[in-house]
Amino acid sequence: MVGFLIRRTGQAIFVLFLVTLATLLLVHLFPGGPVRAMLGERATPSQIAYYNKLYGFDQPLYVQYLKWVNQLIHGNLGFSNHLNQSVTSLIAQCLPRTVVLVLLGTIVSLLFGIPLGVYQAVHRNSASDYALTAISFLGYSTPTFFLGIILVDWFSVDVHIFPPFAPQGTTVLSILGDPKALVLPVFTYAFLLYALWSRYMRSSVLDNLVQDYVRTARAKGASERRVIWVHVFRNSLISIVTLLGLSIPGLVGGAILIEVVFNYPGMGLAFYSAALNVDYEVLLGFTVLATVATIIGNLAADIGYAVLDPRVRY
């Protein structure tokens, strides 16, 4: 187990190295270099040269890389000249709001996706299984933003039940204090994730139902309910843990679209305006943060998997 932990963490660190290198190279992809992106189209060559020297973009790549990593280790993600604010403070401002959205959406989707996935597997090929499968396919094929738009069209424009905007409060408490405004964004987010969990849960339960331990449990006289909800359910849940770790990039991407549609002032909306303003410090800072979160999430999921499933011993 200790050997596995060390090896797995070593892999994660190597992946971190590759990812930070990739983001640094991304800076240099900007037309005319990062300084040109910052100063704008009409910057003179001498201005560009000055700022290149100031920010160290004229130094060899490995020096730039070491500086960049050193910055990151000290929690400095850069400074947005466009917003006149450090990227870290922007994150401190926006992250809690996005976390609220992502957590609520994920929890709601799990609450529906897991039980319904089990139900589908137990009643496979029944009419309700087909109906729920159709809903999951719809979830896979609907663009997040389109679902958001039609929900706004139906519930805010046609019938004034919910406001078309997400809560505009700045603190977590004020956001949670406006539950009516949270309904549409959270539902949109949850619907698209629901498809993922329910499909996965369904096939996972189906796989487990034919295992020997299920036959053993039945042979011992365990009730069908006990077989499903105690034996099969717990074993199927393990694989969801891995899936949760793997889906962090998707969760982040989904949050961007929800925040843009519902004008929710979180990380996604800030990232989107940075993209429109070519504010590359914000773009890269946010990307690095999301990537590190993913790598840590994957690591945690793998370790969690090894802890939860005694058959997995690396």
């Binding site: 992946v15 896979y140 609907t142 663009p143 679209l257 993913t294």
Partner: protein
Amino acid sequence: MALEAQAIAASDAELGVAPSSSQRGMLRRAGEVFVENRLAMVGLGFIVFIVLFCFVGPHIYVTNQVDTDLDNSLCGPSAQHLFGCNELGYDQLGRLMIGGQTSLEVGLAAALVSVVVGTLYGAISGFAGGFVDSVMMRIVDAGLSLPSLMVIMILSVIFHPTPTVIIFIIAVFYWFGVARLVRGETLALRNREYVQAVKVIGGRPLRSVLRHIVPNAIGTIIVQATFAVADSILTLSVLGFLTLGVAPPSTDWGSMLSGGLTYIQGANYWWLIYPPGVLIILTCISFNFIGDALRDAFETRLQRR
């Protein structure tokens, strides 16, 4: 010496011909299972319809998608404009056709590029094994932990993409997942006798990969390619919605939706929002139906759903 040459010729014949004939058998069997799946046939029918709609349609329902016509800005459906007009007076039905051309072309091409690259990468990595495999897979891990939508947005900002560039921007992220799947498949295949035999008779590794491993993993690859088309169309529509997609005068279904969103409040301009959105959903759902049926047909086990 002669005996050896004969043995090589014999094994070559066996290796070269036998797998390809069993290959055909596998494909035919898969085809039979596929045709029995009604949802997949509906999906296939819709794809045929939408391809005709987008590529043949403009020759039958001729509209002007070049010059704006502000007199007809936002006009409702009429005999002249069956689905109304958008804010610049472009006929909406005609625009759905040319937007669909971009969506379909980009979706198919991005899927093709990512599946070809991912397949070769995954097969080589799995076949090489050891240290090479380990490094190659860490690169895939790195790619999969980058938040794809964020980086795709950054790349779009950098390149102000034309449809051709967008194909590569989307494919850059999609191939990682394909590579991981194909590598897993390769690990199972590389120890089979016929792959070992190629090594024994002195066949080059590339031959094993291209002639034996890739054809035997073809089920997984085709299934993955089908899902890739649906996902690429969705990604393109997301970029269009964020106004980071194809630059005007080109358009795609996502960009059309983005334009329509501006007018959602106030008057009910349903024709700006629902037709492109519904087409995106139906096209993606069709590809997903087909992919699902193909997976059943090949009986491959994928992690995706």
